[in-house]
């Protein structure tokens, strides 16, 4: 189309219309002069500003709220954690002997926490301290359970999750035991503590802040 508009008129049509197409430069000069004469008498910047497209906003104008920069939490969320498998023990790490030093450390920690476990110390005070203690590395034994096949499993506590204990037994097996409906026993020197799993369903970090009610007897 553009070629049709800018091409020169063929001579027969020129004779018909009574015009003569002017060659190249003369046509250009004519075009420039014509445009200059038809423009209004204004300065160059004003012409430029008229040419600028200015949109007129008719309705409500909402100011663009600049959102503050979203501070991302340091660390990983659960999805990423699961992908990275940070809390999963690899099979070559699942050896009972590897966790014995942890158990020794834990024993020291408990003895320090209870100000030395003397045979004469009051069980009540020790109990209060143990409620807030951390049990990673303790040797747990299931003493009573509504499901009889859990009874008797013994091992070192590797991981304490919200509803579950992960224990590694002497046969190098990682067992996951739900806390609910079970009673666990922890041996510390001469003391034996029984933990009622149903009341212990908290993450170990949250347990230090929780107040436990005093109950007479607890039935599974």
């Amino acid at each position: 189309m553009a070629e049709a508009a800018f091409s020169s008129i063929p001579p027969e049509d020129g004779k018909l219309l009574g015009v003569q197409s002017q060659p190249g430069t003369a046509a250009e000069k004519f075009t420039n002069a014509f445009l200059k004469s038809s423009l209004p008498q204004l300065k160059g910047e004003e012409i430029e500003s008229m040419m600028l497209r200015q949109a007129v906003i008719l309705q409500y104008a909402r100011p663009n709220r600049t959102r503050g920069k979203k501070t991302k939490a340091k660390g990983l969320n659960a999805k990423e954690r699961r992908e990275l498998k940070v809390f999963q023990l690899k099979p070559e790490h699942q050896k009972y002997e590897l966790f014995l030093p942890l158990h020794e450390l834990w024993k020291q920690y408990i003895i320090d926490l209870c100000n030395g476990l003397k045979p004469g110390s009051n069980p009540q005070t020790i109990q209060q301290k143990l409620l807030k203690a951390d049990f990673h590395g303790a040797v747990l034994t299931v003493v009573r359970s509504k499901c009889p096949s859990y009874v008797g499993t013994t091992g070192i506590l590797v991981q304490e999750l919200k509803h579950v204990f992960k224990i590694i037994t002497k046969e190098d097996r990682l067992k996951t035991i739900p806390k609910r409906n079970s009673v666990f026993s922890v041996e510390i020197g001469d003391f034996v503590t029984h933990i009622y799993g149903s009341k212990f369903e908290l993450r170990s970090s949250e347990r230090s802040a929780k107040k436990f009610k005093v109950r007479g007897t607890i039935d599974l």
Partner: protein, 354 residues
């Protein structure tokens, strides 16, 4: 009707009739299935003294052994497992109540049945199923261990042994009786403190008794004879020596003997108490049949075998419980033409008799 009577716990009564000479007669299999019998009572109308042959059979009943503080883990020892494979024996814990304590029983089929309360089951660590007769909350659990399939040294054997020895060392008084096989209980119990007991026999002659007349072919009591419930009620009244005269002056009982009735000048009531094996019951039944073959005045003989109220099983391995009564008994009525009636009755917490 008073409200207490309306809320009676249910009881089941199964009646069947047959002939001893019939090959397909189930009398022996029914009697052998009922494992733990604690009392037998025999009623012979028109008889003054116990016949000689019957007395012989009754006094030849095998003795039963009472052992104190027998640990249950002993059943897993080698010689006991061999005994189970050879023929078996009956063992039942004594003085334990089925609805309160832990009850242990061993059947000749090799099953060790533990009926445990909640605490013991949670601490023991052996898999079991909850009792069939629990209402909302399961309080009772039944653990069955098949002693015949336990091989020494396997993991399963070790676990069972560990549980019974260390986790909860169950120990109760036991009653043992032989199952008629080649098992000698004296050998097995040689290391324990046992007491050999003989089943106790009591005989009583009743004078001028009113008996219902029974027609052998009419079990249900439709054509003029007594219904099974009426008959069993009368039988119970006789064994408890409740007067059936329907005297208006009697303060204790106005019970009347069911019609049609006849007066009998004398009747013999024999009771044997103790743990009696089913094999002995079958021998007694055979002797009663022989006794009835001889011509005599006695037209029928009734043999009632009561099961232990505290046994965990009634017939076979059907679970048994104690609600307001732990009755599970069966009653044979033998007639002169070798016909018999068999009534089997159970209480509330029981399965239907076979």
């Amino acid at each position: 009707m008073s409200p207490e009577l309306e809320q009676c716990p249910r009881s089941l009564l199964v009646c069947e009739k047959g002939n001893f000479k019939n090959e397909k007669s189930r009398h022996e299999s029914q009697a052998l299935k009922h494992s733990f019998n604690c009392r037998i009572s025999l009623l012979i109308p028109e008889c003054g003294r116990l016949p000689v042959m019957l007395e012989k059979v009754l006094s030849n009943f095998s003795s039963y052994f009472h052992v104190q503080d027998f640990p249950v883990s002993t059943f897993l020892e080698e010689k006991w497992l061999d005994a189970v494979k050879k023929g078996g024996f009956y063992a039942l814990s004594s003085k334990t109540r089925i609805d309160e304590d832990n009850v242990v029983a061993v059947l000749p089929s090799g099953q060790l049945i533990l009926s445990l309360d909640k605490d013991t089951y949670e601490q023991l660590g052996l898999e079991g199923r909850p009792s069939q007769y629990s209402h909302r909350k399961t309080v009772r659990h039944i653990v069955t261990v098949d002693l015949k399939s336990l091989v020494l040294g396997t993991k399963k054997y070790q676990r069972v042994l560990l549980c019974l020895k260390e986790r909860v060392p169950l120990k109760t008084d036991f009653l043992f009786t032989a199952a008629g096989g080649a098992v000698s209980l004296l050998d097995l119990l040689s290391k324990q403190l046992y007491e050999e007991c003989r089943p106790a026999l009591h005989c009583r002659t009743l004078q001028d008794l009113l008996c219902p007349s029974l027609i052998p072919s009419d079990l249900k009591g439709e054509s003029g004879s007594v219904t099974p419930t009426q008959f069993l009620e009368w039988l119970g009244a006789v064994s408890l020596s409740i007067s059936c005269d329907n005297q208006a002056t009697s303060f204790l009982s106005t019970y009347a003997c069911p019609e049609p009735q006849s007066s009998v000048s004398q009747a013999l009531l024999c009771t044997v108490t103790g743990l009696i094996s089913p094999q002995d019951v079958c021998k007694l039944l055979t002797e009663i049949r022989r006794y009835l073959d001889e011509p005599k005045l006695t037209s029928w003989v009734s043999l009632t075998v009561h099961g232990c109220a505290d046994s965990p099983v009634s017939w076979g391995s059907a679970e048994h419980g104690f609600h307001k009564g732990g009755e599970n008994f069966y009653n044979f009525v033998c007639f002169q033409n070798q016909d018999y009636w068999l009534h089997m009755a159970t209480g509330a917490k029981d399965a239907c008799p076979p």
